[in-house]
Amino acid sequence: MHSTKPNPNEIRQHEITGHEIKWRCFGQRIALTFNKQVIYTLLLLTSAVVLIAIWSLFTGSYLLSAEQVLSILFTQQATGASDDVIWLFRFPRTLAAILVGMMMALSGAVLQNITRNSLADPSLVGISQGAALAVVIAIVVFPEFDQSYRTLLAFLGSILVTGLILFLSHSKHNHKPIRFILLGIALSAFLSAVTTAYLTYGQLYKASAALGWLAGSIDGVNWQDVRILFYSCLCLLPLLLLQSRAMAIMRLGDTTAIALGANTEVQKYSLIAISVALAATATSVVGPIGFIGLIAPHAARRFCRSGVASHLLLSAVIGGLLLLFADIVGRRLIAPSQLPAGVLTQIIGVPIFIFLLLRKQARSHL
């Protein structure tokens, strides 16, 4: 919140003592203030992501020595099975895990900011439920349907449901977040009930197949998926950072935000659109992985004091780290079978989160 402090002397003081680094461009349109501590934490976490990503390339049920992996990575001769293992399976999978984790965390952080509710996550706007319903109906009712359309179907499902929630929650008279939250609750409950009905009364083997996808797993991503994830991340993250000052104002409540000159309606819907695009893309590729969107923003708050923009970046890195680690554990724990990353994110993430909760007070209420 340093960037919004009104006293110019104080800002200058910070610059002199060197606690903060300011970065402005486009005539203050982007003005990011980074605490030094935030930068150190970001660097630390990013290097952790890189290290674990390297570990992820070296580990798996198909045994490869370190030299083999290195030679495959750097010579790029497309020969044999070991080459395929690295380039077709481990590499895209690693990248996808990082990207999906980042996108879900960002989406959750944005939703928590604009609804001002610490329990908000992408499932609040029906993303997970819409995707789940579309895919479960496809698996249980039309089992002959082509699995390669699953990504598209999940994406359409989540966008449709979110559109419905936003359409219903649009009102000329009442702009309070409570209305949006309540409609989200109602529609999500309805859709999960329909999904549960299919799972409960559908044939057992089909229901089990659907459950596997619902648990969220990253095996089976290909380069095409990674490309989709990467490009959407590349487009949407700068857009989010552009909006970070607006978000900081909106966190103060609608009345204050309007008084400070924010066009809350426009900003709210554009932020929701970005967050939906992030979560829907991620969900369509790997299935509903809900927990990261809820937990990563809270964890980021416990690492160091931060403004809105740096909090977004921290959440993203923590999300990527968590999902990548969960995916590796899921691959190794009962190898050669695999456990879905969505489930393991919760099993690994919860103890870590509780540890953070017990150890540290949230550094800011951002």
Partner: protein
């Protein structure tokens, strides 16, 4: 102010009318629930079955052994889940809070899954007690974590610890379902919440606890209103917030554990009914608690009647039906009441 005269804001005509209307509605739905089913019964027949029971009469047996326990369970479970949800939302000041956020529902489901999968206990006789044990275990864990965190039993800590613990337990349940398809098949129905297959013995062993907790909730209701205004305000008005929170948590645990024991995890009622009652009577918890109880009872009676009729002789599980029927009503109410 004259302390003898009733507080005019409390005894408002509008709120009393809502209360009276709901009582009548509840009675009507109760009779309908008894009358409608695979075999339709007339009201006079039901009255005879209750007033002059004849064990040779087949219709009387239906009323006493199947419909009456089910209707009573619907009333108790609906009321207790709604009140538990109302308390949770008051204590945490979060409209997304419900008994499931304290880990109560997933705790109960987890205990049942563990008992069946690892110890092979599948007798319906033990199910309620195992569920209650799991629910209280999860809630105690959440409370301990929140208590040990910096700041203590604050709203924020409680909500976050609850969300984390429920996510953890839910993940383990999913893992179990994925690894063990046959046992999962046995549990599918229970995990979606069902009113079928209970009897009066189970209900009568659990009912005293529910009544006790409901009474406690009614007595504490005025303090919940203060707590919902924020910890600071409540403290400055003389409320011992930590003690009050512990008492309320105990209430919520008892209510939820008993309900889960009877019907399995049903999430929708605890989340939505308190909001609906607030639409009608505002934020005063002296009204929100009783109105939530009645609304919850009415709602579950209605849902269960429909769930038995729509695809009779088969029936839809209660948890699924309550969300499918309740969500459209809720959306309509939001449109009407919140503009």
């Amino acid at each position: 102010m004259n302390m003898q005269s009733p507080n005019p804001a409390f005894f408002s005509n509008k709120n009393s009318r809502v209360l009276g209307g709901l009582l009548v509605l509840c009675a009507v739905l109760f009779l309908l629930h008894l009358a409608i089913g695979a075999k339709a019964l007339s009201i006079s027949e039901i009255w005879l079955a209750i007033s002059a029971f004849n064990s040779n009469n087949f219709d009387h047996m239906i009323v006493w052994n199947i419909r009456l326990p089910r209707a009573l369970i619907a009333i108790t479970v609906g009321a207790s889940l709604a009140v538990a949800g109302a308390i949770m939302q008051g204590v945490t000041k979060n409209p997304l809070a419900s008994p499931s956020i304290l880990g109560l529902l997933s705790g109960a489901a987890f205990a049942i899954v563990v008992a069946l999968g690892w110890f092979g206990i599948d007798s319906p006789l033990y199910t309620p007690w195992i569920a209650a044990l799991g629910a209280s275990g999860a809630a105690i864990m959440v409370a301990l974590i929140a208590h040990a965190a910096p700041g203590g039993l604050t709203t924020h800590n409680l909500t976050l610890a609850g969300a984390a613990v429920s996510a953890f337990l839910a993940a383990i349940i999913t893992l179990f379902q994925l690894s063990n398809e046959d046992d999962f098949d046995d549990l599918r129905e229970w995990l979606s919440g069902s009113l079928a297959g209970n009897n009066l013995e189970v209900l009568s062993s659990i009912a005293p606890w529910i009544c006790l907790s409901l009474l406690a909730a009614l007595l504490l209701a005025n303090k919940i209103t203060l707590l919902a205004m924020g910890d600071e305000t409540a403290k400055s008005l003389g409320v011992k917030t930590t003690r009050l929170k512990l008492q309320l948590m105990l209430c919520v645990i008892m209510l939820t554990a008993c309900s889960v024991a009877l019907v399995g995890p049903v999430g929708f009622i605890g989340l939505v009914i308190p909001h609906v009652s607030r639409f009608f009577v505002g934020a005063d918890y002296r009204w929100v608690i009783p109105i939530s109880a009645l609304l919850g009872a009415c709602f579950l009676l209605l849902v269960d009647t429909l769930a038995r009729v729509v695809i009779s002789p088969a029936e839809i599980s209660t948890g699924i039906a309550s969300a499918i029927i309740g969500a459209p009503i809720f959306v309509y109410l939001i449109k009407v009441k919140l503009g």
